[in-house]
């Protein structure tokens, strides 16, 4: 089996020479053409539903200048952060469940019943419980984050190499030291994976929660723009949500490489 010879066909050759972002640039150009040239001529109503990228860009600049985008972004980030602090309780709980069999036996059925319920399904009940506002939003985000962190922590503990635990005991470590110095450390790369997944799921849950139960935040902003048919604001909001989600994930990956240089996935 050999890879196809890139020099064989002129089309393939051209493909290999293309700069990395060529497809993306092409797509944006196509979008601009459809939204500002083709659609207004064929159907002006549809044209208002599809803002061209140039308009999205000017709207973005406006929203940043007026501070509106920053305000909503900050509100969303604050909710994500508060919910994350609460969701970190999943780490000690996961350590206990992973390490002590009886605790696992008792709690695992509860986790297995609650885990498959999508965080969004909690929205109606949580609005009744907490009303509209931060607490309700944070609760939904918390649910989105909690289970990925918990499951990954339990799994990470289960995968700790038994010989490391034996070595620690053989060097005189007691139970608490074994958990703190060996089990937690060995499970940490997997816990961080859980945190990454959790922050991602939480970010998605956040936007959904804000769509229905908030008066600030990116989710609120795009839903509010819908009621006044400002599709450009909606698109700016959507791009911001995606971009910030990406940045959070990249920051976490960067932190993992810095803080856990030993973890196998980062070895190379």
């Amino acid at each position: 089996m050999t890879a196809p010879d890139p020099a064989r066909h002129w089309l393939l050759r051209a493909l290999f020479r293309l700069p990395n972002l060529a497809a993306l640039v092409g797509l944006i150009l196509l979008w601009e053409f459809v939204a500002s040239v083709w659609l207004p001529r064929s159907d002006p109503y549809l044209a208002t539903l599809m803002p061209p990228p140039t308009q999205v860009f000017t709207t973005a600049v406006e929203l940043i200048r007026s501070g509106e985008l920053g305000f909503h972004l900050l509100a969303s980030l604050k909710r994500e952060a508060v919910a994350f602090l609460f969701a970190l309780a999943a780490v000690p709980l996961g350590l206990l469940m992973g390490w002590f069999r009886p605790i696992h036996a008792q709690l695992d059925p509860i986790v297995e019943v609650l885990r498959p319920i999508p965080p969004l399904a909690w929205i109606p009940l949580s609005i009744l419980w907490f009303g509209i506002g931060d607490a309700q939003n944070q609760f939904i985000i918390f649910l989105g984050m909690f289970f990925p962190i918990l499951i990954n922590t339990i799994d990470g503990v289960a995968k700790v190499e038994p010989v490391l635990v034996r070595a620690a005991r053989s060097l005189g470590a007691g139970e608490w030291k074994v958990i703190k110095r060996v089990v937690l450390k060995a499970a940490l790369p997997q816990i961080v994976t859980g945190v990454r997944v959790g922050l991602g799921v939480g970010w998605m849950a956040l936007v959904a929660a804000e769509l229905v139960g908030a008066s600030s935040g990116l989710g609120f902003m795009i839903n509010d723009a819908r009621s006044v048919l400002r599709t450009d604001i909606i698109v700016v909001g959507m791009i911001t949500i995606g971009f910030v989600g990406l940045v959070i994930d990249m920051l976490l990956r960067f932190a993992t490489r810095k803080l856990l240089p030993w973890s196998v996935s980062n070895a190379k």
Partner: protein
């Protein structure tokens, strides 16, 4: 202080009264004097690792007793520390931190920890590698770290479970020589499990041959040769033949 005595030890997995019970070791008695180097030799599955695990405190004998310096072994700890075939270094700690781990568990003050670490880094020849992580080291170097880490806690008995089995033949030979050199500088009571006749003769004062399951002490062979030992010496060759016969004789009985 480091005299290891194993008295009438049997290990049975499962209920001893039931038919499905597996007898791993039967009535093993051994006495290893302080500072002696003892090798346990036997086929795989003869219960030699089980014996080692009981001395290390990972398992309890079903009958009999293991004691070190007159005190019964009840749990793992620095008195009877173990070196593993797979090194078992903590991957998130560098060489220095790995070596200091046991000293920290002993609650030694930092200055003493650092002094001890320097001593043992020097002893095993790891100067300049203190800040390296285990994955950056070769197999032989990793086992040096494991040896330093175990010696640093000043065990009364040092246990080794096929410590060089994962190394290539050349490194293994070099590490065996190293172990002899280190042991002569720092004589400890050592119990080493191996299935290699040459390793046993090269390293030990005393070779205990275990029979196939259920493991029993088949013979104890004293190795009276001067160290370092010459593989081509007539006495060495005779010892090798004798141990081989002890092991294969057993093999024929069973097959």
């Amino acid at each position: 202080m480091g005299r290891l005595s194993i008295e009438n030890v049997s290990k049975i997995y499962g209920d001893p009264a039931s038919e499905g019970a597996v007898v791993a070791l039967r009535d093993v008695s051994l006495d290893i004097p302080d500072h002696a180097f003892c090798a346990i030799l036997g086929h795989s599955g003869c219960g030699k690792t089980t014996l080692l695990n009981m001395v290390a405190g990972f398992e309890r004998p079903t009958f009999g007793e293991v004691s070190i310096g007159g005190e019964p072994v009840s749990r793992p700890g620095w008195r009877n520390t173990m070196i593993f075939q797979e090194y078992a270094l903590f991957p998130w700690m560098n060489v220095a931190e790995n070596i200091e781990f046991g000293l920290e568990m002993k609650k030694l003050p930092q200055q003493e920890r650092e002094e001890a670490r320097r001593t043992y880094v020097d002893l095993v020849g790891l100067q300049g590698f203190e800040t390296k992580y285990p994955r950056q080291l070769s197999g032989g170097m990793r086992q040096r770290v494991a040896i330093a880490r175990a010696l640093a806690v000043c065990p009364e008995v040092l246990l080794m479970d096929e410590p060089f089995a994962a190394l290539d033949a050349q490194t293994r030979g070099a590490m065996q020589d190293e172990l002899v050199r280190i042991w002569r500088r720092e004589p400890k009571t050592v119990m080493l499990v191996t299935h290699s006749i040459d390793e046993a003769i090269k390293l030990a004062d005393k070779v205990v041959v275990l029979s196939r399951r259920p493991g029993r002490v088949k013979d104890v062979v004293e190795i009276g040769l001067e160290r370092p030992r010459d593989e081509d010496h007539a006495d060495y060759i005779a010892l090798r033949r004798r141990l081989r016969e002890l092991i294969y004789d057993d093999f024929d009985e069973r097959s």
